[in-house]
Amino acid sequence: MSTLVYEKPESLYDRKTHYCPGCGHGVAHRLIAETIDELDIRHKTIGIAPVGCSVLAYNYLNIDMVEVAHGRAPAVATGMKRVKPDHIIFAYQGDGDLASIGCAEIMHAAHRGEDITVIFVNNAIYGMTGGQMAPTTMVGQIASTCPNGRDPLKEGYPMQMAEILSIMPGATYIERCAITDPANIRKTKKAIKHAFQRQLDGENGFNMVEILSPCPTYWRMSPVDAKKHITEQMTKTFPLGKLKG
């Protein structure tokens, strides 16, 4: 007599995604959906989809969602949380959205200590527009707008947003995780759950979970190699672990 021990969470639609094979967004969506189900907060959670590959996140997460302008998710989240303080408000953002065009919005949401959660999916590249350099692209990493690899003298160093935000008094929980192997995926979920639980408990402060996530397509790697690349290379620039809280 076998029993079902794992299936897709209720807060995730049973739907084909537009993501490339091996993309980390699918796993990140699932972890959020599982967290929402397990905390039983579907009726009072609002998600914010960014511009970037996850622009259509509202097609996959079976919850109330809003799609917003590029980089502005933390400002939208601010407006929402202020009028709906009993709701769990999370912004789902990529690296271009959060660290480049939306740098002011993320810094100030953290600075004000908005009681929101940001799920920051960092794959060090612009996926949707075709593999251009991101603010988090690593030194030496090739992208379509730095074809010889990122040169810090010309393009600057990758922005370490978790470290930058963690020094702000308004930010109370910041952790960097990775979607690589089952153990790290479990840790990622635990971090998301902790962040949402903080909102649920009415704890003050800005929460962010940064997720190092593979982009096999624009890293020009197989999905399996892309995961190894996170473990072996990406974590050197973006070390895993809790930075605050």
Binding site: S2, G26, R186, P216, K227
Partner: protein, 69 residues
């Protein structure tokens, strides 16, 4: 402990992360393409499965159901 998985192969995109994650090597690459043109992951060695859910944990498409006895 015996387990069983069901892969919705129609929706598989052939990333094979599940194959890499499976500690018992129960999953293989299928021989025929699915509707999207991918060679899907296929649950082949059913007797070896322990229902550990590692495959489901890494699957980006969330198309694996896991059963355990």
């Amino acid at each position: 402990m015996a387990g069983k998985i069901e892969i919705n192969t129609d929706r598989c995109k052939g990333c094979y992360l599940c194959i890499e994650a499976c500690p018992k090597n129960c999953i293989i690459i299928g021989q025929e393409t699915n509707a999207s043109g991918y060679f899907p992951a296929v649950f082949e060695y059913e007797d070896k499965c322990i229902g550990c859910s590692m495959c489901a944990m890494v699957c980006p498409e969330v198309i694996i159901k896991v059963y355990r006895d």
